[in-house]
């Protein structure tokens, strides 16, 4: 690899740092602004003597001045230490939770992303081919309707249809409690294949269907438009006309066009990763999915500073990483990009 690309990677990687820093600062400031702290949230209405309160605050490091807490936590982060939970239960390393919850969110987002790409590719391509017709209009209408579906509402309807009325799919959780799965990666589908645990595979796939369908359909709305617009552009290009003139079959032409449009499509989709994560939170809440979305919402009620800061930082880092990878793929594959 030429020096150019290595430099590019390093430069892009470094750019993640200020992003993470900005978000950490915002969250830190906001969280400390108002009254209430994690110790109080835990102690609640129990009658604890004031010395004990002070003692608990001290253990949590909350009696130090704000700027000290700011830099303390930052220093910890640099060492990969996300701190320990400050509330219910106290003293658990946040990274433990992240390790536990992240694969759940990852699995959900991977599946949802896959579904949304497939749907997006199909509807977008059809729309592009039949550009200007009713088919095109209905595809674009689908795109808008899908995107503006409110996830909890849509998820609830799916839960009712498939979980309660037809009674064919489970409506919550990742796997049936009767199934014993030995987790290696934390991605249940993968783990069940690796350990050849077929009941676990069936159960985890069944549990994934509704949540990823919900999130996938909603996201596909955004992707339909991207695919369609890019495909329209590609289909208008000269080499496509050349193919048509030579009498190449229609579906083959579509296929070539798709291959060409694929890179910008994927990179654009990758950049929408933040939307994916945001949607994942509502999906996790609706389906009781034990991922990072439900984790951060749980922790917010307890004002667990460390857990919330840690999760936000982790999210920021993760989003930055994805966009870095996406940029990289784009730079490597598209000969037009100079670095």
């Amino acid at each position: 690899m030429s020096r150019g690309i290595v430099q590019y990677i390093i430069l892009r990687a470094l750019m993640i740092i200020p992003t993470v820093l900005v978000l950490y600062t915002i969250v830190f400031l906001f969280m400390r602004v108002l009254p209430g702290n994690p110790i109080l949230a835990v102690v609640g209405t129990k009658n604890i003597p004031p010395e004990q309160m002070k003692h608990l605050m001290h253990i949590a490091g909350l009696d130090k001045p704000l700027y000290v807490q700011y830099f303390d936590y930052l220093w910890q982060l640099l060492h990969g230490n996300f701190g320990v939970t400050l509330a219910f239960p106290m003293g658990v390393p946040v990274s433990d939770y992240l390790k536990l919850r992240f694969p759940a969110t990852l699995e959900l987002t991977i599946w949802s992303f896959t579904i949304s790409i497939i749907i997006g590719l199909i509807t977008g391509t059809i729309g592009a081919i039949k550009k200007g017709t009713i088919v095109d209009t209905s595809m674009r209408l689908y795109s808008i309707i899908a995107y503006t579906l409110f996830i909890p509402w849509f998820g609830m309807i799916l839960q009712y249809i498939f979980g309660v009325w037809l009674h064919v799919l489970p409506t919550s959780g990742r796997i049936s409690p009767n199934v014993n799965l030995h987790t290696i990666t934390g991605l249940y589908v993968l783990d069940s294949i690796i350990t050849e645990n077929w009941p676990a595979l069936v159960s985890s796939v069944k549990h994934l269907i509704l949540p990823s369908l919900t999130l996938g359909i909603v996201l596909s709305g955004a992707y339909t438009r991207i695919v369609r617009n890019n495909m329209v552009e590609v289909l208008n290009q000269d080499f496509i006309r050349a193919y048509k003139a030579r009498g190449v079959k229609d579906w083959k032409i579509t296929w070539y066009a798709l291959k060409n449009a694929f890179i910008p499509i994927i990179t654009l989709m990758g950049l929408q990763f933040a939307i994916l994560l945001g949607g994942a939170i509502l999906t996790e809440t609706t389906f009781n999915w034990p991922g990072m979305g439900t984790f951060i919402i749980d922790r917010i009620e307890y004002r667990d500073y460390n857990a919330i800061q840690g999760t936000v930082v982790f999210f920021a880092f993760f989003v930055g990483l994805i966009s870095l990878i996406v940029d990289l793929i784009y730079a490597l594959l598209d000969p037009r990009v100079k670095y």
């Binding site: 209430g36 702290n37 009658n47 979980g163 069936v202």
Partner: protein, 519 residues
């Protein structure tokens, strides 16, 4: 292309799997029986610290009370105290010295012998680590000593007639020596000497219990108990309906209970000892005026609350001491329910009228007490405004902030709930009415007579005399109205029709040993 193939393969696997699942269910009863050696319980509560030195929430206490045991315990389902690890005891020196004799041959769940030294070690550990519930020990115990292998002696700081009730709580349980002596051991699964031991614990997901072969008492009817954690009542209820769990325990909503009752599920109702009440700030205006407080108490209609907000799953409560506990008196009945006329009279006396209404802020916390809380606040607002002389502004704050505001006495009227620490009228009076113990609630109530009465009741051992004192205290409570008791909760356990043996005592803890399933 590859994605398609993978997707098709997975779909095929699902359908094949479905077919296989159906086959399994039609198999012989032998396979079904094997399954019934485990019962799955669903809860929306969480386990916090598996360390009695720091755990202070209802559900973690339930886990601890099933995997550990103390010197004494309640007879299941009752308020009667019976011997547990200790087979007998003596009280000396005006309830300040308590001597306990342990059974012989006691062991922890891993076979380690349990002696008086372990008891002392565990209790001193609680005192040393200063966790949340440690005051239950340090406020009462001066010193605890193991006189020999089977004798434990407590020297108390002051006469405490209800010490046995305290001993039933987890901070007093002997813990396996594997517990870290100097740190809170939140994830420690070594347990104690209770009927079950923990064999698996995944935070936020499940905890698995298995019968403890060394337990001194009755062997559990079901060998394995699996507890699954759910984020909210809806998903837990769906899990019950889908057959994923056998028992839905804490906490289903009233609507869930009612609807499950209509289907084929068993609903077991147990009177609970947790109460809901309204607090007034007696120091700041306008709630510093006792007439205002009395008026607002009169306007509240508990029956309407029980019906509309909780759909009949709670009982109206007319005193801070719960229904069913000795010394309870319905002291607030004198104000009536939804007594608009009385409220209006009192408000007029206080100087308010239709043109000069009372402006008051009613606070609540939206999630901590379940999602019926907003409805409760709305209901009370409606009831107060029926007088035509009150204008209510509803305010809410997240739990952490809410608790802070309470401590600082910044709210005029606010809704709270109370789960007992120990089952004695003292726990329902002192923390609220004693000026040395009620700073956490921020009402500012301080009454010398009440302080003296409560202290006396803590010291005298005779229950009848104590009851008379508590009746006095309740009368003063209804006269000064720093609090308005609202309702008392019932507990509902919903199970599959083939599950029996649900036993929940007044301490609101389920004894898993009695659960069993028929197939």
């Amino acid at each position: 292309m590859k994605k398609w193939v993978l997707l098709i393969l997975l779909l095929a696997a699902v359908f094949v799997g479905c077919a296989q699942n159906n086959k399994v269910q039609n198999k012989t009863p032998v396979e079904n029986l094997q399954k019934s050696n485990a019962i799955v319980i669903g809860v929306t509560d969480k386990v916090t610290d598996l360390d009695p030195a720091n755990a202070y929430d209802a559900f973690t206490w339930e886990i601890l009370e099933n995997t550990m045991v103390g010197l004494v315990k309640y007879k299941p389902g009752t308020l009667k105290i019976e011997p547990a690890l200790a087979e007998s005891w003596e009280v000396k020196n005006n309830s300040t010295v308590w001597i306990f004799h342990l059974r012989k041959g006691l062991k922890f769940s891993d076979g380690t012998p349990l002696t008086a030294k372990n008891v002392v070690w565990s209790i001193e550990r609680v005192m040393r680590l200063k966790g949340d519930p440690s005051w239950l020990v340090t406020d009462f115990v001066k010193k605890v000593v193991a006189e020999n292998n089977t004798t434990v002696v407590f020297y108390l700081k002051h006469p405490t007639s209800y010490f046995l009730a305290l001993l039933t709580t987890p901070p007093y349980y002997p813990v396996n020596p594997k517990y870290n002596p100097n740190k809170i051991d939140s994830d420690q699964t070594a347990g104690g000497a209770g009927p079950y031991k923990i064999i698996k614990f995944i935070r936020g997901q499940e905890i698995v219990l298995e019968a403890n072969p060394y337990y001194f008492g009755m062997k559990p009817k079901t060998k394995k108990i699996i507890i699954k954690f759910y984020r909210d009542a809806t998903t837990m209820r769906l899990a019950l309906q889908n057959g994923e769990i056998d028992v839905a325990w804490r906490t289903l909503r009233p609507s869930d209970v009612l609807s499950l009752e209509k289907s084929n599920f068993n609903v077991v109702k147990v009177p609970g000892t947790y109460i809901r009440y309204l607090c007034f700030n007696v120091v700041k205006k306008p709630t510093s005026n006792v007439l205002v407080r009395k008026a607002l108490a009169a306007a509240i209609n508990r029956k309407e609350i029980a019906e509309m907000v909780y759909r009949g799953t709670v009982e109206p409560l007319y005193s801070l001491i719960p229904n069913g506990m000795w010394s309870h008196l319905d002291v607030f009945k004198k104000y009536g329910d939804g007594n608009v006329k009385l409220a209006q009279e009192l408000l007029e006396k206080a100087g308010y009228s239709k043109n000069n209404p009372l402006h008051i802020q009613l606070w609540y916390t939206p999630t901590h007490y379940g999602d019926t809380e907003a409805d409760l606040a709305q209901m009370i607002k409606t009831q107060w405004e029926r007088t035509g002389m009150v204008k209510v502004t509803l305010k809410s704050a997240e739990w952490g902030t809410y608790v802070d505001y309470a401590r600082k006495g910044q709210m005029q009227a606010y809704l709270l709930g109370w789960y007992p620490d120990y089952l004695d009228p003292d726990d329902y009076t002192t923390p609220f009415l004693s000026s040395t113990a009620n700073s956490w609630v921020g009402t500012g109530f301080a009454n010398k007579t009440v302080d003296t009465l409560l202290k006396k009741a803590q010291e005298i051992p005779n229950q009848n005399e104590r009851a008379k004192i508590y009746e006095e205290v309740q009368k003063i409570l209804a006269d000064q109205v720093p609090y308005v008791p609202l309702v008392q909760g019932n507990l509902f356990i919903v199970t599959k029709p083939n599950v029996h043996g649900v036993v929940v005592g007044p301490d609101m803890v389920m004894e898993y040993s009695y659960l069993y399933k028929v197939s």
